[in-house]
């Protein structure tokens, strides 16, 4: 059974291929006669990686199983009293199971398409070998993360995708804003990473002794497979586990840009649009969601954790959508949308439906990458990201306009496009849990309201960019479609954005989402209530699109009157609720002021004391110098005094000290 399952042992080839691509392009790319050739090398390698990735995921669909391979003792740690009485080995290896196959499919397919698209999109740029090398390294780290078989290995690759993201956000490093955004992204996610690491320690020390079948005790952080997590979602107790779950959520919030660590993602749009599509929409930012899913499947969250996760996810879904409503920058609108959609996924996992969250992760990866690449196509053509300068582009860019529209419909949740199925499942899933805790209600309602905003903001962007007679800024260049390398990914991703939601009806695919457990849960049980809910959400989405058309359609530009009571709200949204200012104030002003003060103390108080001793010794030695008077009777007096002192020390003080100390 499962002719393709033999491949599972070779899953390590995927990251290895991309490491090879990184090495070749990085070392030799600059010496090639034409710099694009390095790009074609990367395309070839990511194509090969995609073939392996797709075959593995098909294999998992045909016969779900979990397969661990390539065990290598990365660190052999000695015993420590207390938690780790026997010492332990940290083993690295690859784990192929249904959910990692799902992610592998997403990462390799989108990765390949983005590589291909880059050939056209990036051809003007200097530093091409650096670009393709870093993107290859990113894909290596991301596939490594997906295939990690234990939390520590997961963390290692988690950090590596983070640093690749850092370099790619700062790809145009001559621009101060890009360099600053890269730093911001690294530091904000670092806050989450620190929490994640502590969470790992907590889980590890909890399970090191209590794990099933000695799996944890012997192998440290290995994900042990079983039908049930150690603590089934929402049922566990224990303060340590609750704290551990919250810390893991902190890590996920950093990576997936959830409130309050969301600030970096919009600024990360300083990177090339291809990078935004791959890293900041489809894959890396979804790693946080994947982490939550993996944790809920293998480790389990307590009831308190679930509530906090629902709160963060539900609030972020709405909160980020509000900022997308007013933004003039096409990429940032999509970036806020990404934060919001990740919030939906987090919400689903918090409600106990990891499979639904992963389902949305899957569909979202395709339609969001599509939206970014379509936006990239527009930016490539007109050279601006400001929606208010664009307009009327659908005449000259039919393919791009259609692709963006398909992506928009999928995002808005209009049937039968991909987003409808998964977003609807999330709402139904959370709805089904409303009875478990009354506190779920507000977050469900926020998520529901977010549906309207989502449809509105994405079609506002579409109408602003594509509808109307002509561009609002006449100085923009004549728009044109990109070369075929850019068009092919748009077409392929459009196809996915239409059909990806229907994948659940394929036999075997739900198994990927459910990690092989044969539970009938996808789509959740549909009764009359769920159908009504579904109808309501589609109605809301349609209303959002309608409002967008009313305000922005046919080249209209809606201007909020100065006297409108909504003006302060609008300004607050444009200012992104002042989060960035607040963080800058803490990071740049407060911490830096403390650092300056500490530096002052270091130089003038601590080192000043040292100088004080220096001067004191100089003064004392100057006095002592005068004792050497050259008069013999003086010296004789010193000798007698010295002898007396020695006698006192030896006869009285020393025995007393020895007696007190009890020494021999």
């Amino acid at each position: 059974m499962g002719a393709l399952n033999g491949l599972f042992g070779y899953a390590f080839l995927v990251p290895l291929l991309m490491v090879a691509s990184f090495a070749i392009v990085g070392l030799a790319g600059g010496r090639l006669k034409r710099l694009e050739w390095g790009g074609w090398v990367a395309v070839a390698f990511s194509g090969a990686a995609m073939v392996v990735g797709v075959l593995i995921s098909v294999g998992e669909m045909l016969s779900p199983s979990s397969y661990t391979n390539v065990q290598y003792t990365w660190l052999h740690l000695p015993p420590a009293p207390g938690t780790f009485p026997n010492g332990f080995e940290l083993v690295v290896g690859t784990l192929v199971d249904p959910i990692s196959a799902l992610l592998l499919l997403v990462v390799t397919v989108v990765g390949f398409l983005v590589m291909l698209y880059s050939i056209g999109y990036m051809h003007h740029d200097r530093g091409l070998p650096r670009y393709y090398a870093e993107l290859s390294l990113f894909l290596a780290a991301m596939t490594g993360l997906v295939l990690a078989n234990n939390l520590l290995e997961f963390f290692v690759f988690w950090e590596l995708v983070g640093v690749c993201s850092y370099f790619l956000i700062g790809f145009y490093y001559e621009k101060p804003s890009a360099a600053s955004a890269a730093k911001e992204a690294f530091l904000v996610t670092r806050v989450g990473d620190v929490m994640f690491l502590l969470g790992i320690f907590l889980y590890f020390s909890t399970y090191a002794q209590a794990g099933p079948a000695g799996g944890w005790a012997a192998n440290g952080f290995v994900f042990v497979h079983g039908a049930q997590p150690f603590v089934p979602v929402g049922t566990g107790n224990g303060t340590t586990l609750t704290i551990a779950g919250i810390l893991i959520l902190g890590g996920a919030a950093g990576k997936s840009a959830q409130f309050p660590l969301h600030v970096w993602l919009p600024d990360a749009m300083e990177g090339p649009t291809t990078v935004s599509a791959l890293i900041h929409a489809a894959t890396m930012v979804a790693a946080g969601v994947y982490l939550l899913a993996v944790t809920s499947l293998f480790l389990g969250f307590t009831a308190t954790d679930s509530l906090v996760i629902v709160a963060i996810g539900g609030f972020t879904a709405f909160f980020a959508a509000t900022m997308a409503v007013v933004h003039p920058d096409i990429k940032r609108v999509i970036a806020y949308s990404t934060i919001s959609q990740l919030g939906y996924m987090v919400l689903a996992i918090g409600a106990g439906f990891a499979m639904v969250g992963l389902y949305h992760l899957f569909t979202h990866a395709f339609f969001k990458a599509l939206l970014f690449l379509a936006a990239g196509s527009v930016i490539h053509a007109v050279g601006t990201q400001n929606l208010f300068q664009m307009g009327g582009l659908k005449k000259r860019m039919r393919l791009t306009a259609a692709a963006f529209a398909i992506g928009g419909l999928a995002l808005a949740g209009i049937p039968p496009f991909a987003g409808f199925w998964s977003k609807d499942d999330i709402l139904a899933a959370v709805f089904s849990q409303l009875g478990s805790h009354p506190a779920y209600w507000p977050f469900f309602l926020l998520a529901f309201a977010g549906v309207f905003l989502t449809a509105y903001y994405i079609f506002r962007a579409w109408f602003l960019a594509f509808s109307g007679p002509t561009t609002r800024d006449p100085t923009l260049p004549e728009a044109h479609e990109g070369p075929w390398v850019m068009q092919v990914p748009l077409v392929v991703l459009s196809g996915f954005a239409v059909v990806a939601g229907l994948f659940v009806f394929l036999p075997g695919f739900p198994g990927l989402l459910l990690n092989g457990a044969g539970v009938a849960g996808i789509p959740p049980h549909y009764g009359t209530t769920e159908l009504l809910l579904s109808g309501a959400s589609v109605g809301l989405a349609a209303a959002g699109i309608g409002l967008a058309w009313f305000l922005w359609g046919n080249g209209r530009v809606f201007v909020l009157p100065e006297s409108s009571p909504a003006q302060p709200v609008c300004r607050l949204l444009l200012a992104r609720y002042h989060f960035k200012e607040a963080y800058d104030w803490v990071g740049l002003r407060a911490v830096y002021t403390v650092a300056r003060a500490a530096d002052f103390v270091d130089q003038y108080v601590i080192d000043g004391t040292v100088h004080g001793f220096e001067r004191a010794f100089a003064a004392i030695s100057d006095r002592l110098r005068r004792i050497q008077s050259g008069i013999v009777s003086d010296y004789a007096a010193y000798v007698v005094a010295g002898l007396l002192l020695v006698f006192v020390l030896l006869l009285l003080v020393a025995p007393w000290i020895v007696a007190r100390l009890g020494g021999s």
């Binding site: 000695p78 420590a80 290692v156 001559e174 360099a179 530091l187 020390s205 100390l661």
Partner: protein
């Protein structure tokens, strides 16, 4: 069987003398000596699979050799050397940094014979400290290190070199005296049969806990100033800023490690009960150093000074790991020191190259150097990322182990070093943002990328940073499976 440790000492001694006399060819002689040194260390590692079989002469140590030296009644001083897994790692570090420093300093024009001779002499002293198993021999090498470093700073250093050299010498010398008194008191009070480590180790448990605690504190002060611990650290930034690049590399890479090694070997292993009594003091000092080093780094304008303060932060984590008193903590401390030796060596080299290339190390005054000096810029990135603990680089396995050991030993106190990791990341990233990225600023028109020898010296360290970051087991297995005295249960 060859007494290989003594052979190394002879090699380095003869090599140093030869280098001093070699005149213009000194760099070649120094390189040759370094190559022989590296080969000898390689031989040591090659014996490693048969580890227990090589324990001879000195119990618990490999390649041991003990020869009577000064025997006057109760004064029993021996020439005793030997290695265990811990000292082996430090010996490897010494050999690596010696080669890297010699290669990096290839272009030294001012009295090269004296310069390379002093570099070799410093490494000789450090090697001696790492293998000496007799109090007097240990102290001899310990003090021998100060002299060449004093001259390296005082002659080849920056504008305030005299002040810095004197401060370095007096400050650490005072600490050495305290340490010597502590060691001698330890030997005499415990009634050890000789000054040998094994004799002192065997006799120390007879001391009362209070005496052990006081002795431990005096040793801690002596070794701690070398770490350096806050508030006895102010000699370090001055010495680093004024030292020539090679001097800085050895200072940060090896001299700071003497403190850590000494504390493990002569205090923690010999006086575990003393440690148990004063542990809270060590924890307090460690947390203070971790926080202080990192926060003050953030305020620095001089690249070298920033790296110097980051050393205080990293050595604070080392102290924390040592103070935990678990074998996991000891492993972490040794790994951290090795990692810090490689990475801070690399960072000080980059700081030196920045100074040569741009005529300044002032971070706000230089900007956007990446297009001009891509290789140097890459080295700075690797060094910074390794220092802030990025996985796949050498700092991560060490820091991870240290934090895990801290969590195991101290529970939620681990949040202090964990939280400081964010500050550490921020000062490195901010430096990179200002110096490497953005529009070019303060870049002379004639500036070009680093010369080959500087690139080779840094490249060696970069390669090792990646190698040991990906495969930390290469080091850990050596440490863990050797007969280490301090490791409970082994």
């Amino acid at each position: 069987m060859l007494p290989i440790l003594s052979l190394v000492l002879v090699t380095l001694l003869v090599g140093t003398v030869a280098t001093f006399l070699a005149g213009a060819r000194a760099r070649w002689v120094a390189l040759g000596v370094s190559a022989v040194f590296l080969a000898e260390v390689g031989t040591l590692f090659a014996q490693y699979p048969g580890w227990p079989g090589y324990v001879n002469g000195v119990p618990g140590f490999a390649d041991g050799q003990s020869v009577p030296w000064i025997h006057l009644g109760w004064l029993q001083v021996n020439y005793t050397v030997g290695v265990d897994g811990i000292s082996l790692i430090f010996i490897l570090l010494t050999a690596i940094l010696q080669v890297a420093t010699v290669v990096y300093s290839w272009g030294e024009e001012r009295r090269p014979a004296a310069y390379f001779g002093l570099v070799l002499l410093t490494c000789l002293g450090c090697f001696g400290v790492f293998v000496a198993l007799d109090i007097l021999l240990f102290f001899l090498f310990w003090e021998a290190v100060l002299v060449p470093m004093f001259f390296l700073i005082g002659y080849w250093g920056g504008p305030r070199r005299r002040y810095a050299a004197l401060k370095f010498f007096v400050y650490t010398h005072v600490a050495s005296i305290v340490m010597l008194v502590g060691l001698l008191a330890l030997a005499f009070y415990s009634g050890a049969a000789s000054f040998d480590f094994s004799a002192v180790y065997a006799a120390a448990p007879t001391l009362s806990p209070v005496v052990q605690a006081f002795l431990f504190l005096s040793l801690f002060f002596g070794f701690g100033v070398k770490f350096p611990i806050v508030p006895f650290h102010t000699w370090l930034p001055d010495a680093h800023v004024e030292a020539p690049t090679g001097g800085s590399v050895l200072l940060a890479g090896l001299l700071l490690k003497l403190g850590g090694y000494g504390l493990i070997r002569w205090a923690v292993e010999v006086l575990p009960e003393g440690l148990a009594h004063v542990r809270p003091i060590l924890f307090f000092v460690a947390f203070l150093s971790i926080g202080w080093g990192s926060v003050v780094s953030l305020a620095q304008r001089d690249l070298k000074r920033m790296v110097a303060f980051s050393s205080i932060n990293h050595m604070g984590i080392v102290l924390l790991a040592i103070a935990l008193g678990s074998s996991l903590g000891l492993l972490a401390a040794v790994l951290l020191m090795f990692a810090h030796g490689i990475v801070s060596g690399l960072l000080f080299m980059t700081a030196g190259s920045v100074h040569h290339t741009f005529g300044s190390r002032d971070i706000p005054a230089i900007g956007g150097i990446t297009p001009t000096t891509p290789a140097l810029s890459t080295m700075i990135m690797v060094g910074s990322l390794a220092s802030l603990g990025l996985p796949a680089l050498i700092g991560f396995p060490a820091e991870f182990t240290a934090l895990l050991a801290t969590w195991n030993g101290l529970g939620y106190w681990v949040m202090i070093p964990l939280g400081i990791l964010v500050v550490t990341a921020s000062f490195y990233l901010w430096m990179m943002q200002r110096m490497l990225f953005g529009p070019a600023r303060g870049v002379p028109a004639e500036a070009h990328d680093v010369p080959w020898y500087e690139g080779a010296g840094m490249g060696l360290l970069v390669a090792l940073t990646v190698l040991f970051g990906v495969l930390p087991g290469l080091l850990v297995n050596v440490i863990v499976s050797s007969p280490i005295k301090g490791f409970p249960g082994t």
